[in-house]
């Protein structure tokens, strides 16, 4: 997956930043805007604490922190109720039903270009987790469990890389990173698979070992050669999640990865695919923001422009324009992670437009597509975006 991803490098002007989330919270992004209506009002204590934390800004307490503590909301948000319209719920229902229907007999998922693929399977599992299901618990507990067991069954002996025979011919890093992510989220809920911990230990080790000289990662599970922005952002995300789950990840490793991301940034808020590239891709903006935020670089100078760029794109371009972009759903998925983190002021209008695009791209059976007519991974990604307001998947963080 991702072989055909050639991101147009955009130019972004690197600027030294004040704290991003500081800026975001100071201009009122921390608390979602009140929609009015029937949500019970916040009390004074909550309001005071929220104001205090807003002034303080996000923190990462601890000696080697993995958790980001963001200021609490001053009042109850109506965002979820407002965004999960009947249309969104129907789209989600169809997408999830499609995923369940198309699960392979061995528990995995296959796409046109990625048969029996651990990356696609991981995305499908994440989509089912976003609904609120856990392995063997919930509406989709059983297919989720089978999907996760498929991942566990496709670990390459010796290397610990979670990639089956249908992986990306350029290299399995996407699959491996996404599969590791899915298993990390599920590891605490699969006691009948005690080997999960060992698999993850090896998987994280594989990630750590394949960090390249320039600080990033690329398709091949190898520390030789140049990296790319997309894989690097994904891996950084996974490493942080691994840290939360009790895996040791050195800060030095993270810092080098962040430096690579910074090197790919362009002044206008976009990111190049490779640091020496000339063109940027709108779809990478989200990955850039996530990569930085997730590592606690919430005050990073690059984030406001990246966020603004995404917001601008979705305001400026029509549904058809956005639909026609390469790897449109991929871009929407990563943009969703970024915009969600940036707060409702950006998230809500962005989500509205994104839903329009996804609605235009959803077929009658519930699946979405990419230009190569792959349907599973876009459907899984779209399902995660549509279910983000539920707040059930820790990838959406604020």
């Amino acid at each position: 997956m991702g072989a055909a991803v050639k991101m147009t490098a955009l130019v972004i002007r690197p600027i030294r930043l004040i704290r991003l989330i500081w800026l975001i919270w100071l201009i009122g992004l921390a608390g979602p805007p009140a929609f009015g209506g029937e949500a019970p009002k916040a009390d004074d204590e909550q309001q005071l604490r929220a104001d205090q934390e807003k002034k303080r800004g996000p923190t990462s307490p601890g000696k080697d922190p993995a958790f980001l503590v963001l200021p609490r909301p001053a009042e109850r948000s109506r965002m979820a109720e407002q965004l999960l319209t009947p249309q969104v719920r129907e789209m989600t229902k169809k997408a999830l039903a499609y995923l369940v229907r198309t699960q392979d007999a061995d528990g995995g998922w296959s796409d046109k270009d990625y048969p029996s693929n651990t990356g696609v399977t991981a995305l499908a599992c994440l989509a089912l987790m976003a609904e609120g299901s856990r392995p063997r618990i919930g509406q989709f507990g059983e297919p989720l469990n089978r999907g996760l067991e498929f991942l566990l069954a496709n670990v390459r002996a010796g290397s610990g890389v979670i990639a089956g025979k249908g992986c990306n011919p350029h290299g399995p890093m996407y699959e491996h990173a996404l599969a590791t992510l899915a298993l990390l989220f599920a590891s605490g809920d699969m006691p009948w698979k005690p080997e999960t911990r060992t698999v993850l230990t090896n998987a994280v080790e594989a990630l750590k070992k394949s960090q390249r000289q320039d600080g990033g990662w690329r398709y091949l599970v190898s520390n030789v050669g140049d990296s790319d922005m997309s894989v690097t952002a994904n891996v950084l995300w996974v490493l942080r999640t691994a840290k939360k789950c009790g895996f040791t990840v050195r800060q030095e490793s993270i810092d080098r990865g962040v430096k690579y991301v910074e090197a790919c940034a362009m002044p206008d808020g976009t990111f190049r695919y490779r640091y020496w590239g000339l063109q940027a891709s709108p779809s990478l903006g989200g990955t850039g923001v996530i990569a930085l935020c997730n590592q606690g670089k919430i005050d990073h100078a690059l984030i406001p422009s990246a966020r603004d760029r995404i917001a601008y794109d979705y305001r400026r371009y029509t549904v058809d324009d956005l639909k026609q972009r390469r790897y449109a759903v991929y871009g929407i998925f990563y943009a969703s992670l970024a915009m969600y983190t940036c707060g409702d002021r950006y998230w809500v209008p962005w989500f509205g437009k994104a839903v329009e695009v996804l609605a235009a791209m959803q077929r009658k059976d519930g699946e979405l597509w990419d230009e190569a007519d792959n349907v599973l991974y876009p459907t899984a990604m779209a399902a995660m975006v549509l279910q983000a307001p539920l707040g059930c998947l820790p990838i959406y963080e604020r």
Binding site: Q46, L48, E53, F67, P73, A80
Partner: protein, 771 residues
């Protein structure tokens, strides 16, 4: 005029006999004088004869005592007494809505001032047609003056000193007026008062007496039906100690007697600097208000709560209150022991890290050996001694691996809880509690508020695809932990939004003294499995949750309620350590002050249902200490109405400040152990003026009195209708009739006539030579 005779019938008979004798004598005398009288002419004889007979008749008439009866009539003006209340309550400000008050300068707005104005107007109008008597009353009726009838001008009256009467006896005043003026015609009685009778004859009795006497009582009421204009802070409740960086809340009881509603603002100052301000809209009467701030400076801080002052407030000193709070740099040290990083773990850790008072140390049992554990404080291993465990205030066991915690550690943890710490046990599917009980049977069993079947190990192959709803138990609804909003309706609305769940840990039963807070919805008891429970464990407390997917409650309001719930539980469990004392009870009395002899009701309210369960069957006492250090123990009994309340009664005897204290040890605890609660409250016993007890006017009583006696009633609403009152007082004069008896004979006319007749006869006899 009616002629009459005053002499009795016997005497009249005698007079008739005398007349007959006189006639015989005169006849003999005339015969004797006949020779001499032959020289007189007939006419001269007739004259002499007539004169002599007239004298005799006159003499006889005098003896009969003739008299005349006459009726003398006198017209007088009717009397109107104006009774002006001069009791202490008349010093209070009059109602601002009274047009007379609005027209008066600020220094003359007392009820007494308005009464004097009204009395003057009435005197001026009534003096022309009535005899006006101005009187004052408190406990006795006193005459100020009586105006001369039809006085041309009415100067202002001299009422003397300011009203200081100790009581208001309107009934007595009316009775006294009726009695003292019984001889006059009373056109009516006018009573100027606030109607707030404090003693004497009942108003309706006095009204009945006036009705019998056909004397209407017209009433002019001063003041209003509302207590005096005042905005005051009655009570401020705040923690005596708060942690640095934590929210400090002030709960106020405010009474608004200014207007309804009143838009105002409450300002909170810390050491003279404004730290918060809250706009309020207060209804008339009492309101509960909260205002909060973050305690940002250490030490004993002075907080002032200030309400604005309004014109004509009876007391402006009570518009503010000062509270001293000690701000201490102290944290709630929490140790989270988690077996595996489940989905709940991902959300629980940031929720606990967010609380500024919580100092979190996590220990993920499955973590890499060189992993830096998360939290504000990073630990490398679990505590290994009692002292180490006691460094924590609350321990959270989140689906722990029982094989990675020793029996010794569990025993030490139990000791920590027993001596005031808190324990939260979150059951999970990975290891389950059955295994934990199998490995560490005794202590874990004792600690848990529920019974778990140790043989009920998790079935990993079971798929949980059917959702279930959860609901708060009846006791859970009232428990502070299940309260996500102060307002009941808002709280219900929030709970109604939470989605269904799919898995919970099985529970055999809830222990007798535990409180089940949340249970699975179901129609039969078998279906209603306990999901959350709590109990007091010696000096500490233990909370159980059989749910490991509360993160689903992040829909729809994201982390708002989810985070608050967890931190509320943590704070509740660590309260003893955090505050130094349990604040799950509130001790007060039904009033702040009493007069000697009155009974004070002592109220010990239990705020924590778990504590209420712990106290069941125990005898509670409160001690009341007087200023002279005399201590009386008052037994406290559970409220018969079933509220979480213990009640006692104390009769106040001595004057001064009384200290009530209530303290209770945990059942079975040693004498050195900390008590479950140790609370105090003070109240005052002082001599109280009856007049100051109730500051509102009793307009209803005044109206009833006027109605009963068919008089006119006037208050601030129709104060301009004084003319109507004047017109209602009849001007019919008092007519006095007197019967007079005049004895005609006993007068100068009778005597002169008698003398004239005798003298004339003698003179003529002399003249005509008869003598």
């Amino acid at each position: 005029m009616t002629p009459t005779i005053l002499t009795s019938h016997g005497v009249v008979l005698l007079l008739v006999l005398v007349a007959a004798g006189l006639s015989a004598f005169y006849a003999w005398l005339y015969r004797q004088e006949a020779a001499t009288a032959r020289a007189l002419t007939r006419r001269q004889q007739r004259v002499l004869r007539t004169l002599r007979i007239a004298v005799a008749v006159l003499a006889l008439l005098a003896l009969a005592r003739p008299a005349l009866t006459m009726v003398r009539r006198e017209r007088r003006l009717p009397v109107v007494p104006i009774l002006v209340d001069e009791s202490g309550s008349m010093v209070f400000p009059d109602c601002r809505d009274n047009p007379l008050v609005q027209a008066s300068p600020k220094t003359q707005r007392r009820r007494y001032d308005t009464a004097q104005t009204i009395a003057q107007k009435l005197q001026e109008q009534l003096a022309r047609t009535h005899r006006v008597r101005l009187l004052t009353f408190s406990d006795v009726l006193k005459l100020v003056r009586e105006l001369a009838p039809e006085a041309a001008s009415v100067p202002p009256a001299d009422y003397g000193a300011a009203p200081t009467g100790e009581s208001t006896n309107i009934g007595d005043a009316i009775q006294d007026a009726l009695r003292d003026m019984a001889g006059d015609k009373l056109s009516g009685i006018v009573v100027l008062s606030d109607g707030r009778q404090t003693g004497g004859r009942r108003l309706d009795d006095a009204g009945a007496q006036a009705t019998d006497a056909r004397v209407p009582v017209h009433t002019v009421a001063f003041g209003s039906e509302f207590p005096l204009r005042d905005l005051r802070i009655d009570e401020v409740v705040a923690e005596p100690e708060v942690s640095l960086g934590d929210v400090l809340s002030f709960r106020l009881k405010i009474t608004n007697q200014i207007s309804a509603p009143l838009a105002t603002k409450l300002t909170l100052l810390e050491e003279g600097q404004k730290v918060n301000e809250k706009a309020l809209v207060l209804p008339r009467g009492e309101s509960q208000v909260t205002i909060a701030t973050i305690a940002e400076a250490e030490g004993t801080r002075e907080f002032r709560l200030v309400l604005p002052q309004y014109d004509d407030e009876v007391n402006t000193e009570n518009n503010e209150a000062t509270v001293h709070v000690k701000v201490v740099k102290r944290t709630l040290r929490v140790l989270l022991i988690a077996g595996n990083p489940s989905r709940e773990y991902f959300y629980l850790v940031p929720a606990l890290l967010r609380d500024p008072v919580v100092e979190l140390a996590t220990y993920l049992q499955c973590a890499d050996i060189d992993y830096t554990q998360q939290g504000n404080v990073s630990i490398e291993r679990l505590p290994r001694s009692i002292e180490d465990w006691k460094k924590y205030d609350v321990v959270v066991l989140f689906d722990p691996d029982p094989n990675k915690i020793t029996t010794q550690q569990v025993a030490e943890m139990e000791n920590m809880v027993r001596t005031g710490g808190g324990l939260m046990v979150i059951a999970g599917r990975n290891h389950g509690l059955a295994k934990l009980i199998q490995v560490h049977a005794v202590k874990i069993r004792e600690l848990l508020p529920v019974e778990i079947d140790k043989n009920d190990l998790p079935d990993y192959f079971q798929v949980f695809s059917q959702p279930f709803a959860s609901e708060r138990t009846p006791k859970g609804r009232g428990h502070p932990l299940m309260r996500l909003e102060r307002d009941d309706r808002a709280n219900e609305a929030v709970w109604a939004t939470f989605p269904k769940l799919y898995w919970h840990h099985p529970v055999k039963q809830v222990k007798p003294r535990s409180i089940s807070l949340l249970e699975r919805s179901g129609s039969s008891p078998a279906e209603r499995a306990c999901l959350m429970a709590i109990h007091r464990y010696f000096e500490g407390a233990v909370f159980y949750s059989g749910l490991d997917s509360l993160w689903l409650w992040r829909y729809p309001y994201e982390s708002y309620d989810y985070d608050r719930f967890w931190t509320d539980v943590i704070r509740y469990l660590g309260e003893t350590r955090l505050r130094g004392t349990q604040s799950q009870v509130a001790l007060n009395t039904d009033r702040a002050s009493y007069a000697p002899g009155e009974e004070a009701q002592l109220r010990l309210r239990i705020l924590d249902p778990a504590l209420m369960a712990q106290l069941e069957g125990q005898q509670l006492y409160a001690s009341v200490t007087s200023p002279a250090k005399e201590v009386q123990m008052v037994p406290l009994r559970p409220d018969p109405a079933g509220e979480m309340l213990y009640l006692g009664a104390y009769r106040a005897r001595r004057v001064g400040s009384m200290l009530v204290a209530a303290k209770q040890a945990a059942p079975g605890a040693s004498s050195e152990a900390k008590p479950l609660f140790d609370v105090k409250h003070t109240f005052q016993v002082r001599m109280q003026s009856l007049e100051a007890r109730e500051t509102s006017a009793d307009l209803a009583a005044m109206k009833a009195l006027a109605g009963q006696t068919k008089g006119v009633y006037i208050d601030y609403r129709n104060m301009g209708e004084l003319d109507r009152l004047v017109k209602a007082i009849p001007t019919d004069p008092q007519v006095l009739s007197e019967e007079i008896l005049v004895e005609v004979w006993d007068g100068s006319i009778f005597l002169i006539l008698f003398l004239a007749l005798i003298g004339g006869e003698w003179s003529l006899r002399k003249l005509w030579g008869l003598l």
